[in-house]
């Protein structure tokens, strides 16, 4: 019997294919297409302390093999979210990873306190790729010190139960350095990678296409960047579990991230092109793993790092 189970920190999952934060709505929208319990986990869109309108439109631009988005974390705020979305997901029997985002270290602390006693959550994904209003809008995940501060705030307030998955941006000089820092600050696992900062200029209007000017690049275009980041971090921190993401659109792609060192894989942009992409990817991945002779997912994690045989 093939063993598809995986874990991130102390949390266990039936299979390694998750939705990506911000790419699965509240879960309800996808539940029309398949049963959410088929997923390793639903990762919710990053939730903030208060309700947010998000950025003005246009919020997206298609790019070669990818897209830019600047949603700006539109959402109802943590209280309404807990009241409505979480309870609905729990009722479906879905495994839930809650993604949180803050504008200040204090925000992260408060969010963690609000979540510590909530039932039915498997893990917290801490999105630190957001602008820090206390520090000239600099993104938390871009500097070791601010990345550390955000994760520490969550660690101190979450209690001992819920695993913390720190989500990092690839837009840094050394992602390994940031990874080491957040692990030292108490992250149990890492989510790699968030979108890559990009811009599209509309050559008709001759202005940035997005109202927010820059946006996050996602989709297959960035997969080589994701694989590189996962490989580098797994090489440096082989004992820290990684939730990989970035341009995964097939079982082959998920397998690639797993070989690089991911213990689970989130699917984002591919869902926009195909609402049932996650299910297709899960099935294709299992087929690939079995075809390559693996008895379990775990054996394949980081397999591309093996030293035996000729290089």
């Amino acid at each position: 019997m093939f063993n598809f189970r995986t874990s991130l920190g102390q949390a266990e999952f039936e299979n390694p294919i998750f939705t990506a934060s911000g790419c699965a709505g509240s879960g309800k929208e996808l539940a029309q297409f398949f049963d959410l319990t088929e997923l390793g986990a639903v990762v919710t869109k990053s939730i903030m302390l208060k309700a947010r309108s998000g950025r003005a439109t246009p919020r997206m631009a298609e790019t070669p093999s990818g897209m830019l988005n600047s949603i700006g974390l539109q959402g109802p705020g943590i209280d309404l979210f807990l009241e409505k979305d979480i309870s609905w997901l729990r009722d479906q029997g879905a495994r839930i990873v809650v993604s949180i985002a803050g504008e200040s270290v204090e925000d992260y602390a408060v969010l963690a306190r609000k979540l510590r006693a909530v039932q039915g959550i498997s893990a917290l994904e801490v999105n630190i790729s957001c602008p820090n209003v206390e520090n000239r809008g600099q993104v938390f995940a871009c500097q070791p010190a601010t990345a550390r501060a955000a994760i520490e705030a969550v660690r101190r307030n979450i209690g001992g139960e819920l695993p913390i998955i720190a989500k990092l941006t690839p837009d840094v000089t050394s992602i390994v350095e940031i990874a080491e820092e957040v692990v030292a600050a108490g992250a149990d696992a890492l989510a790699l990678i968030n979108t890559v900062l990009g811009m599209v200029i509309d050559t008709n209007t001759m202005r940035p296409k997005l109202a927010g000017k820059t946006g996050g690049l996602s989709g297959p275009a960035i997969r080589p960047v994701a694989v590189r980041a996962i490989y580098q971090v797994h090489e440096a921190l082989p004992n820290v579990k990684i939730l990989g993401m970035g341009g995964v659109a097939s079982g082959r792609d998920a397998f690639e991230l797993i070989l690089a060192g991911a213990s689970a894989v989130s699917v984002g942009t591919a869902t926009f092109g195909n609402p049932t992409a996650v299910i297709k990817i899960k099935e294709e991945l299992q087929t690939q793993l079995i075809a390559h002779g693996f008895d379990s997912l775990r054996e394949a994690v980081g397999y591309a790092h093996r030293k035996d045989g000729n290089q």
């Binding site: 911000g22 790419c23 699965a24 709505g25 929208e29 996808l30 029309q32 297409f33 869109k45 208060k50 309700a51 947010r52 309108s53 998000g54 950025r55 003005a56 439109t57 246009p58 919020r59 997206m60 631009a61 298609e62 070669p64 093999s65 990818g66 897209m67 988005n69 949603i71 539109q74 959402g75 109802p76 705020g77 109202a211 989709g219 297959p220 659109a249 942009t269 591919a270 869902t271 926009f272 092109g273 195909n274 609402p275």
Partner: protein, 274 residues
């Protein structure tokens, strides 16, 4: 997968018919389809949305679904170049539909460019409900007026405007609207077309106190409500302005609830704006 059973050039557009089986019976006027473009190894990762022009439920023979496509950029041009027999990856029906009155009222359907497409199916439904249906179609030029013969026959009056005067009245649809609304004592306007046109129609509807349902067109990444790219500010019944998804809370929305001309800025007072 839906097979192309017909693909014909009509003026500036392509009228494309797909064999879609069962799902044709769920399609209502106002709904749209989302089609993957570019083929197997496409660099275009997002689907393209097209308003459903008509849908035929043909039971065991399988249903048909029709759209009208303007070749614009790479995605729509690719689609118009596909031949009969080619199978496309198509999801449908998506989004909200035009609200159908229970009373036999007087409706004015206003379409801009390919925006006329969903109005013909709507017109038939309205006629079946005993409504009087007038129609105004506008475009920059004659080639961009989409008005097939059988569609024309389904309405009580059809007025056409083109900006260059190549057919019909020279001008914009909004030039003729006030007159028609008054003459025909219109109760409701249904519109579909470019956002600027919808906004102008909405102004007239508001001024003349006519109900206005419009099908908006925002850039959509997913078409199914999961990505939040397609939002527009809409005032709810509670008076609160929220950024709603035009793919699932639309594309058909109440014109008077939309905060128009809000591209590139969040309207003041929107829920969650800071």
């Amino acid at each position: 997968m839906a097979e192309i059973v017909s693909n014909k050039k009509v003026g500036a557009y392509h009228h494309i018919v797909f064999a879609v089986g069962e799902l044709a019976k769920f399609a209502k006027p106002g709904n749209f389809v989302a089609i993957a473009v570019g083929g197997e190894s496409s660099s275009m990762v997002l689907r393209r949305a097209f308003a459903i022009y008509r849908a035929f439920d043909r039971g065991t023979n399988g249903g048909l679904l029709e759209i009208v496509v303007a070749p614009h950029g790479a995605g729509s041009t690719w689609l118009t170049n596909q031949s009969v027999g080619f199978k496309v990856d198509l999801i449908a029906p998506l989004g909200t539909a035009f609200g159908i009155p229970t009373e036999p009222i007087r409706a004015l359907l206003v379409g801009g460019g390919y925006g006329s497409a969903p109005l013909f199916g709507l017109s038939e439904v309205l006629k079946n409900r005993g409504c009087r249906v007038d129609m105004v179609l506008g475009a920059s030029t004659a080639m961009k007026i989409y008005a097939p013969l059988d569609g024309k026959r389904s309405v009580s009056s059809l007025t056409i405007t083109t900006e260059d005067g190549t057919t019909g009245i020279t001008g914009k649809v909004t030039d003729v609207l006030p007159g028609i609304i008054e003459t025909n004592q219109i109760d409701i306007i249904y519109s579909c077309g470019p956002m600027g046109m919808l906004e102008a129609i909405n102004q007239i509807a508001t001024d003349l106190g006519v109900v206005h349902q419009c099908a908006v067109e925002e850039s959509m990444a997913c078409g199914i409500g999961v990505c939040m790219t397609c939002v527009l500010p809409i005032r709810g019944e509670d008076g609160e302005i929220r950024m709603l998804r035009s793919c699932i809370d639309g594309p058909v929305v109440d014109g008077s609830s939309v905060i128009w001309n809000s591209k590139r800025q969040i309207p003041e007072g929107t829920w969650g704006a800071n």
